[in-house]
């Protein structure tokens, strides 16, 4: 991604240039969609949420500092949007309708198949978490926010965020251990 181009598009879009905003959508739609997909677990719901997030971003440009990168802001918007949807009991699926299509058109070698199965287990495990835990995992591991930034995004006390994040990890680790591996984990040999 060309950062200079991204910033100039952001500035134009903030002034109301819809063509520039369209280009921003194309640049960031995949990242925004994936945040929604990890939280909602359903392709259609995630596309809807991503689309809605872009519209909200456009209408909230007045509150955005265009000197900052836009992608983290878009991810924050879609994260909160998805959490609100879950709170409002909008339907989300748990990947039971089938996993998204793999990037490879045909099943690859055994290792690739095993990797895809493992990824599916990880996604399912994330979706099995309570929404607040899911949000903590999303923000820390996929959006790389600090504890303080997560607290700010979710509007929760720092202690609550840490507690949620650590419990979420514990639950995830246990669930993945249950479903898992016949193969050794990546860094499982004695480290010290």
């Amino acid at each position: 991604m060309n950062i200079a181009n991204d910033r100039s598009l952001t500035k134009l879009a903030a002034q109301g240039d819809q063509n520039a905003f369209g280009e921003l959508v194309q640049l960031h739609q995949s990242a925004v969609f994936n945040v929604a997909y990890r939280i909602l677990g359903n392709q259609q719901d995630a596309e809807d949420a991503a689309q809605e997030a872009f519209v909200r971003a456009y209408n909230a440009f007045k509150s955005f500092d265009t000197h900052r990168p836009i992608r983290p802001w878009l991810k924050k918007i879609v994260t909160n949007l998805c959490l609100n949807r879950i709170k409002a009991h909008r339907p989300t699926l748990s990947l039971e309708n089938g996993l998204p299509p793999p990037k490879e058109p045909k099943p690859g070698p055994e290792a690739q198949t095993a990797k895809r199965e493992r990824d599916a287990q990880v996604r399912a495990a994330i979706l099995s978490l309570p929404p607040r835990y899911r949000a903590a995992i999303e923000l820390r591991h996929f959006q790389d926010l600090s504890y303080e930034e997560i607290a700010e995004t979710l509007e929760k006390p720092l202690s609550t965020v840490k507690s949620d994040l650590f419990r979420a990890r514990k639950m995830l680790a246990e669930r993945l251990k249950e479903t898992a591996p016949t193969q050794p984990p990546p860094n499982s040999k004695d480290r010290i």
Binding site: G16, Q43, V55, L81, V122, R123, Y147, P185
Partner: protein
């Protein structure tokens, strides 16, 4: 030393411990198999999350997003500045045409309030004085003739406008119009979901 608790293990992996606490934790981990096992579980989780691939989008969202944006923002950015200037010019033209019409209308109806309007040459002269230009000129406006029907009797209210006041009013009206339109062109309706 006691075992590392959940917070210490997590903050160690998140690199949130200060130097002293990190060193303490590493010293303990070197000698404690149980804490190393817990750490390894968390590391495996971190690794699984880090390696989770992105899902490809099935549809381009651009068209759908653009279709939902407010129509008010269709004016291209490059056009806004000229639009602002054109609005101002339009205001001046409308006033320049409107004042003679009003004056003609007033003259045809003796019962209308008496408003003595300055001539355009008077207004222009004020403008020239304002800018302190050092030359003389004659400013003549074309005459307009209108046929006004008979109007009912209205109260008599004598008002006299000096050229300088008229000039100020023109400038104020133009500025207000311009500011209003400029802000209108820039504004975006709030859409909160």
């Amino acid at each position: 030393m006691n075992h590392l608790n959940e917070n210490q293990l997590n903050e160690y992996l998140d690199q949130m411990l200060d130097d002293a606490s990190r060193q303490q934790a590493e010293t303990h981990l070197a000698s404690c198999k149980q804490c190393r096992a817990e750490l390894a579980d968390l590391e495996m989780l971190f690794s699984s999350l880090a390696e989770l691939p992105e899902i490809p989008l099935k549809h381009d969202l651009k068209a759908g997003v653009l279709a939902r944006l407010p129509r008010e923002m269709q004016i291209p950015v490059l056009w806004r500045q000229p639009a602002f200037v054109m609005q101002s010019l339009l205001t001046i033209i409308l006033l320049a045409i409107g004042i003679p019409i009003f004056e003609t209308f007033r003259q045809r109806i003796p019962t209308m309030p008496t408003i003595t309007l300055p001539s355009y040459s008077g207004i222009a002269a004020e403008f020239v004085n304002l800018l302190a230009w050092q030359f003389e000129f004659t400013f003549t406006m074309p005459e307009f003739t209108f046929t006004i029907p008979t109007m009912p009797t209205l109260p008599h209210l004598p008002i006299s406008l000096e050229p300088s006041i008229m000039l100020v009013l023109l400038l104020v009206a133009t500025t207000l119009w311009g500011i209003g339109n400029f802000s209108l062109l820039r504004s975006k309706p709030e859409v909160r979901g």
